[in-house]
C-alpha cells in the first residue's frame, strides 16, 4: 500500500520473526523513545536520571536486538556513546580549578532533549485522538459542475507534483529516446520561456507533457528538457502562466497538468521581468 514499506504502518514489521522481543523493540521510535521507556519502568525522574543504571539497561536492550540478529540502527549506537560519555563525566570529581563551584550537569542536554521529545509525543497523541477526516468523519461530497469547460480548477500544484510529472515524462521517454549526443547545444532557460509563451499565444492551454516533449512527442535532449522545465517554473513564478490540474472527488490532484496563460493584466510584462531577473 505504501511506497515506503514499513514506514506508515510502524516498524512492527521488523518483528516478523515471531519473537516477542523483536516486536517490542521495533515499537520504539528511536533511542529517545527507548530511554523514556526505561525511565518510566524504573520510575525515576527525567530531570534526575540514574545514568549508570539507565545506560546499563539501555545497552542490555541493544544487546537483545543484536542477539536476535537484527540491525541496531546507528542512532541507537550514537545514544549509547552519549550515555557512556555522560557516565564518565559523572564519575569525574568536580573540576578543582573551577572556582564557580560545580560545573553544569553533564546530563542537562540529554534531559532537555528527552523533555522536548516527550512533549512532542504528547502532541502526536493529541493528533491521534482528533476526529480525522477519512477515518472518523467524512465530508459531504459536492462535485464542481460538469458544465464547466473542464472539470479543472486551479489547485496548489506544488513543486512536488510538478517534479513528479517531470519524472513521469522522463520515465515515459526512456533512456533510448535520446541516443548518444555529441554536439553541444546552447540552451537557455530564457529561450525556452519564449518558446513556451509563444506556444501559449497560439493555444490557450497546453498539456505539461507536450511542452517538454518535442512536437513529434519525442524526448528532446536533456539540456532542452531541463531548461524547459525550469522555464515553466520560472514563468509560473512570474505569474505569466498558471498551472492547472484536475481534481478527483476527494480533492486530490488527478489527470494531466495543464499550463494556461495568466489572465492577469500585468502578465504581458513577463518578458521585461525576465530581462530584469536573468
Amino acid at each position: 500500500m505504501s511506497a515506503f514499506p514499513g514506514e506508515l504502518d510502524s516498524g512492527a514489521s521488523e518483528g516478523s520473526s515471531g519473537s516477542p522481543y523483536a516486536v517490542k523493540l521495533a515499537l520504539f521510535e528511536g533511542p529517545l523513545d527507548l530511554l523514556l521507556h526505561l525511565i518510566r519502568v524504573n520510575e525515576v525522574e527525567i530531570t534526575d536520571i540514574p545514568i549508570a543504571r539507565i545506560s546499563e539497561q539501555y545497552l542490555a536492550s541493544l544487546e537483545t536486538i543484536r542477539e536476535l540478529d537484527l540491525d541496531v540502527a546507528g542512532e541507537f549506537l550514537l545514544m549509547a556513546a552519549t550515555l557512556a560519555w555522560i557516565k564518565s563525566r559523572m564519575l569525574l570529581p568536580p573540576d578543582g580549578l573551577d572556582t564557580e563551584g560545580e560545573g553544569p550537569d553533564p546530563r542537562a542536554e540529554l534531559v532537555a532533549r528527552l523533555l522536548e521529545y516527550q512533549r512532542f509525543k504528547e502532541v502526536a497523541r493529541e493528533l491521534a485522538e482528533r476526529r480525522w477526516l477519512g477515518r472518523d468523519v467524512f465530508e459531504a461530497h459536492a462535485s464542481p459542475l460538469e458544465s464547466q469547460p473542464e472539470s479543472e480548477r486551479e489547485i496548489a500544484v506544488g513543486v512536488f507534483e510538478l517534479i513528479e510529472a517531470y519524472r513521469r515524462v522522463l520515465a515515459r521517454a526512456g533512456p533510448s529516446a535520446a541516443p548518444h549526443e555529441v554536439e553541444v547545444e546552447t540552451v537557455t532557460v530564457r529561450e525556452r520561456m519564449r518558446v513556451v509563451m509563444k506556444a501559449l499565444e497560439l493555444r490557450p492551454s497546453l498539456e505539461f507533457t507536450e511542452c517538454v516533449l518535442t512536437s513529434e512527442g519525442v524526448f528532446p535532449s536533456r539540456s532542452i528538457f531541463v531548461a524547459t522545465f525550469l522555464a515553466i517554473l520560472e514563468l509560473s513564478r512570474l505569474a505569466a502562466l498558471r498551472i492547472y490540474q484536475g481534481v478527483d472527488e476527494r480533492g486530490g490532484p488527478q489527470g494531466p497538468i495543464h499550463l494556461r496563460r495568466s489572465d492577469d493584466p500585468g502578465s504581458g510584462a513577463w518578458s521585461e521581468q525576465v530581462a530584469e531577473i536573468m
Binding site: 500500500m1 505504501s2 511506497a3 514506514e7 506508515l8 510502524s10 516498524g11 521510535e29 528511536g30 529517545l32 527525567i46 530531570t47 540502527a73 542512532e75 532537555a112 532533549r113 523533555l115 522536548e116 521529545y117 516527550q118 512533549r119 512532542f120 509525543k121 504528547e122 502532541v123 502526536a124 497523541r125 493529541e126 493528533l127 491521534a128 476526529r131 480525522w132 477526516l133 477519512g134 477515518r135 472518523d136 468523519v137 467524512f138 465530508e139 459531504a140 459536492a142 462535485s143 486551479e154 489547485i155 496548489a156 500544484v157 506544488g158 513543486v159 512536488f160 507534483e161 517534479i163 513528479e164 519524472r167 513521469r168 525550469l230 517554473l233 476527494r250 486530490g252 490532484p253 488527478q254
Partner: protein, 227 residues
C-alpha cells in the same frame, strides 16, 4: 429577508460547496447577510441538526464551513468508501507534531527532536499532502523548510493552525510533563508561519528543484496514495 430563508440558503450553500466555504464568501452569497450573521446561522443550523438527531454537522475547517458525518457513523461510512480509512504511524504522527509546532522547520531539526532519520516519513507525508515544502532556510546549504498544508487542517479538523493547543497547555494536561522545566521549551508554543491561505497555491516560490533526488527514490505516482 426572513431569517428562516437565510438559514436554508446557508445550508444549501454549505451542502453544495465542493470544499470548505469561507465565512466571507458564505455571507456574500446570502442576501443582506453580514459575516457575523452568517456565523450565527451556522451555529443555528448545527443546533437544529443536534436537536433533530441528524447524522451530520457543520465543521469549521481550513478556513471554511463543511458538512461532515458524525463520528458515530464512522464504521458504516468507512465500509462505503473505496479507500481504506486513513492510517498514520506513530513516526508519521510525531513528525507531523514537530512540523506543526516548529514550522517552517528543516529536516535536521525534526531529526534532532525525534533522534531518528526523518527522510522516509517526510516523503510519505509529502505524498499524502499533509506536509508541504515552504522554501529554503537562508543558511549555508539552503536546507528545505517544511510546513503543514491545508490538507493537514482538513484531516485534523482544524479551522486554522493556531487552533492547535499550545505545547504548554498540553504539558499541563500531561501528568508526567513538568511544565516549562527547560527554558528552550518555552518559546515552542508559537507558530512562526501562518498556514497557506485557502485555495492559494503553496508558497514554494524559491523551493529548489535541483535536489529532488532527496525526495524521490522511486517512480511511484504519489497521487495514488493520496486520499
Amino acid at each position: 429577508m426572513e431569517r428562516s430563508e437565510q438559514l436554508s440558503i446557508a445550508e444549501a450553500l454549505i451542502l453544495a460547496s465542493p470544499e470548505p466555504i469561507p465565512l466571507p464568501r458564505l455571507a456574500s452569497l446570502i442576501p443582506s447577510c453580514k459575516p457575523a450573521v452568517a456565523r450565527a446561522l451556522v451555529d443555528e443550523l448545527n443546533a437544529e441538526y443536534l436537536m433533530r438527531g441528524r447524522a451530520f454537522e457543520i465543521w469549521e475547517v481550513a478556513g471554511g464551513f463543511q458538512l461532515r458525518t458524525l463520528p458515530a457513523f464512522a464504521s458504516y461510512v468507512q465500509a462505503s468508501q473505496p479507500e481504506r480509512p486513513l492510517r498514520l504511524s506513530q513516526a508519521a504522527l510525531e513528525t507531523l507534531a514537530v512540523v506543526a509546532y516548529r514550522q517552517p522547520v528543516t529536516r535536521a531539526e525534526i531529526e534532532h527532536v525525534r533522534g531518528v532519520d526523518a527522510g522516509a516519513v517526510l516523503r510519505s507525508l509529502l505524498e499524502r499532502h499533509l506536509v508541504r515544502i515552504a522554501g529554503h532556510r537562508e543558511v549555508p546549504g539552503r536546507p528545505l523548510l517544511y510546513a503543514t498544508s491545508r490538507r493537514f487542517l482538513e484531516v485534523f479538523g482544524l479551522a486554522r493552525i493556531e487552533d492547535l493547543p499550545t505545547l504548554r497547555e498540553l504539558a499541563e494536561l500531561a501528568p508526567e510533563g513538568p511544565a516549562g522545566a527547560h527554558p528552550t521549551l518555552e518559546s515552542v508554543g508559537s507558530v512562526s508561519e501562518a498556514p497557506e491561505p485557502p485555495g492559494q497555491p503553496a508558497d514554494e516560490d524559491d523551493a529548489d528543484v535541483s535536489d529532488d533526488d532527496e525526495y524521490f527514490d522511486d517512480d511511484e505516482d504519489p497521487r495514488s496514495e493520496s486520499e
